[in-house]
């Protein structure tokens, strides 16, 4: 009797499955979205699913340990989701052939749609390119901007930062805004804070240096320009005249100190919530310019959606996956700050996508004109690890006896060994 019951249930399951399998194809997408972000993303997917009969997109969030899970899924062909979110660093996986090349299926995309590759900022799209193929559609390009606390500037009777500021103006203000407000001999308020964020690349690039040269053959960190940029950065980090110590940052929180009104200026991503902290009046401007070169280059954190090359649908119906990818990416472009598309790079579009950023929209768009992405290649993870643990870490944590130039020259061959 029991065996019959079990057999009946098995047959029912298979029949139901077969019937379900005849429905429109289900396309899965995995993201790192937490509860709130996943809920917002779901509204985009609901809208897409309601307007197509070709496919249904199902969100499978992996809010914890995302890349460990994704890597193990990608390493097991045929398992995992059809599409994934990837940040810029992990786009390096394209070199391992785990993402589907999109260049063919996107070739006939309508102009000024998410499938139109010519509409993306070239530097951001480059992160997704490898060996002549395109392996992801960018959905965000978030330039680093300067957030400032108007209240602290007003209290010190100082002018607000402007789009024309150089680092000289910045240093003067940061020093003047570092104060012992209660007169107990301890600093209570600092002009700035940094702890390897913002990334040092900004200062290398602004000074005219490069992290990696254009043809990926050299790591010229020991060039005079790169060294000057990094020395400037190190002079600001944990400098008691303008920044809190690493211990204070570790204990009180990095961004939290700005939100608590103890930091006057903070460099953050354009999408950060620092300009909507209750009780704070916060302004936003592009990062200051290097006074010698005039460069205002800023770092752009970016992320893309990729297609799992080993997903069964990628083998059976890549065009359908491409259509779904374009639809999802189009939806995200109307949600995230900042859309990586040139045609959407306006203050009006930004404010419409994220009304809470309306006041900062002009500054963000201005910053986007100078944003630059990391040069990603196959072994970038190795390069990144050496850069941070053996070069930048010892420098910023005072764990080396060598000067910036000496350590850069010493580490250069090791970094160049990782280049393609």
């Amino acid at each position: 009797m029991k065996i019959r019951l079990m057999a009946s249930m098995l047959v029912l399951l298979l029949v139901t499955g077969a019937v379900a399998a005849q429905d429109v194809p289900t396309i899965t997408i995995s993201t790192w979205a937490g509860v709130d972000e996943a809920a917002e993303f779901q509204t985009i997917l609901d809208d897409i699913n309601a307007n197509t009969t070709e496919f249904q997109v199902v969100h499978q969030p992996i809010p914890a340990d995302y890349y460990t899970v994704v890597q193990t899924q990608l390493a097991a062909p045929g398992s995992g989701a059809d599409m994934y979110w990837m940040d810029q660093n992990n786009m390096a996986l394209a070199a391992d052939g785990v993402f589907m090349d999109l260049s063919q299926c996107l070739a006939d995309s309508e102009p000024q749609t998410a499938g139109d590759l010519s509409d993306y900022y070239p530097g951001i799209l480059a992160v997704n390119e490898h060996d002549g193929g395109v392996y992801g559609l960018p959905w965000i390009a978030q330039p680093v901007v300067l957030y400032f606390n108007r209240g602290l500037f007003d209290a010190a009777d100082m002018d607000y930062p402007t789009n024309e500021w150089t680092w000289d103006d910045f240093m003067t203000a940061a020093t003047a805004l570092t104060l012992d407000n209660d007169g107990d001999g301890n600093t209570d308020q600092w002009g700035f804070t940094n702890n390897s964020w913002p990334p040092p690349y900004i200062f290398i690039w602004q000074a005219g240096g490069e992290l990696i040269n254009a043809d990926f053959t050299e790591v010229p960190l020991d060039s005079p320009e790169a060294v000057a940029g990094m020395e400037f950065y190190l002079n600001t980090a944990y400098n008691p005249e303008m920044s809190p110590s690493r211990e204070i940052i570790a204990e009180q929180g990095f961004g939290e100190m700005f939100k608590a009104g103890r930091i006057a200026m903070f460099m953050g991503g354009a999408a950060d919530d620092l300009d909507r902290v209750e009780g704070l009046d916060v302004g936003v401007v592009p990062v200051p310019a290097n006074p010698d070169t005039g460069s205002r280059t800023t770092f752009a954190w970016n992320a893309s959606t990729v297609v799992n090359a080993s997903s069964p649908l990628a083998q059976e119906n890549p065009e359908l996956l491409c259509d779904a990818l374009v639809a999802v990416t189009e939806g995200i472009h109307h949600w995230k700050v900042l859309s990586p598309r040139i045609s959407q790079g306006t203050a009006e579009f930004l404010a419409e996508s994220e009304p809470r950023k309306a006041d900062s929209a002009e500054a963000i768009i201005e910053a986007a004109q100078d944003m630059r992405a990391l040069p990603i290649f196959g072994d970038y993870a190795e390069f990144d690890a050496i850069f941070w643990s053996e070069f930048w870490g010892p420098l910023i944590n005072d764990e080396t006896d060598l000067s910036v130039a000496e350590l850069a020259a010493e580490i250069r061959p090791e970094l160049e060994d990782t280049l393609p």
């Binding site: 379900a20 399998a21 779901q42 699913n49 193990t72 990608l74 211990e247 570790a250």
Partner: protein, 374 residues
Amino acid sequence: MTDPGALNTYLPTLIRYLLVMIGIGVIMVVVYRVQRALGVKQEAATGRTLVVPWIIGFVIFTVFTIGASFYLSFTEYNLFSAPEWVGLENYQDLFDVSAGTLESREQRSTDVLERRHQEIVRVEVGGGGFVFGAREHAFWRSMRLTLLYSFISVPLGLFGALGVALLLNQKVRFLSFWRVLYYMPAILPAVATALLWRWMFSQNGIINSLTAPIWQGFGWEAPRWFTDPALALPAFIIISLWGIFGANSVILLAGLKGIPQELYEAAAIDGAGSWAKFRHVTIPMLSPALFYNLVTGTIGALQVFEIAAFIQTPAAVGTFLNWLIYQEAFNLRNMGMASAMAWIMLLIILALTALIFRSSSAWVFYQGAREEAA
């Protein structure tokens, strides 16, 4: 909104589960039939057949993975490309160490160490000293932290647990309550306790607030437990003691309860005082439980993971070895190097465990073994 594709999404997995179950069932039937055909009795054949699923799981998920990890330690492997055989290169890189003599205390370690080597240990003697460095300095720093942590926290925890067990073995009121209270740390999630301790050890946390009269009295700054390289290890050891007191105390308490009262009575007749009873009755009779706690405590301390994942340490201190291996494998995708690190860690654990076992004949007293010998 109801997920429209849930069945479609999970059906292939469900079918695979069913196929695996059917496959195991078929293997079990074949194993049973073969045994019976060979003349094995029904009861024995049934028993062996029922063990088959476990053996299959053990071979696939334990034996194979251990073997694969050993093989991968001789390769360069990033999960996506085929492993590339590199022989002993990973091990050579890990053991690429150097040492130098410092002519003055101010001399830079980079002046005397090999190129690309970074300082691991600096020993200052008189006006000069010695410095030891390694190419894979993160590995050796982690090794130093993990071993120091184990060598200090395990004996301290053992003595502390013994003290607690002796207290709980007294005739005190609400004994069950105290036992539950002391065992509580052992059942709390490690992640929650790591976060709790991180908060308690913060500069304005409860520990610094309670000890403020002490350090303020000496005119010292408030301790920065996890950011000061000199204090990180003591802070981790304090955390570990809290956890292992409870679990170890319960085992030792069970051991204390098992000591026959007549041994104490005989000792008293011979004129033994409290210390003599403790030294010559309690400790020998409790030594198997102490031995067990020492072995499991040492292995556990060398494999610390959760607190390393949730409490950052200064770069100069390094991190715990298990966490470093995880980062090497899944952040850097250097599965080969991570496997080599894991095998070195395994050898260290085996060596220490073997050492403890070898020493046991000198200090562990097994009453049953003595009775058998007699």
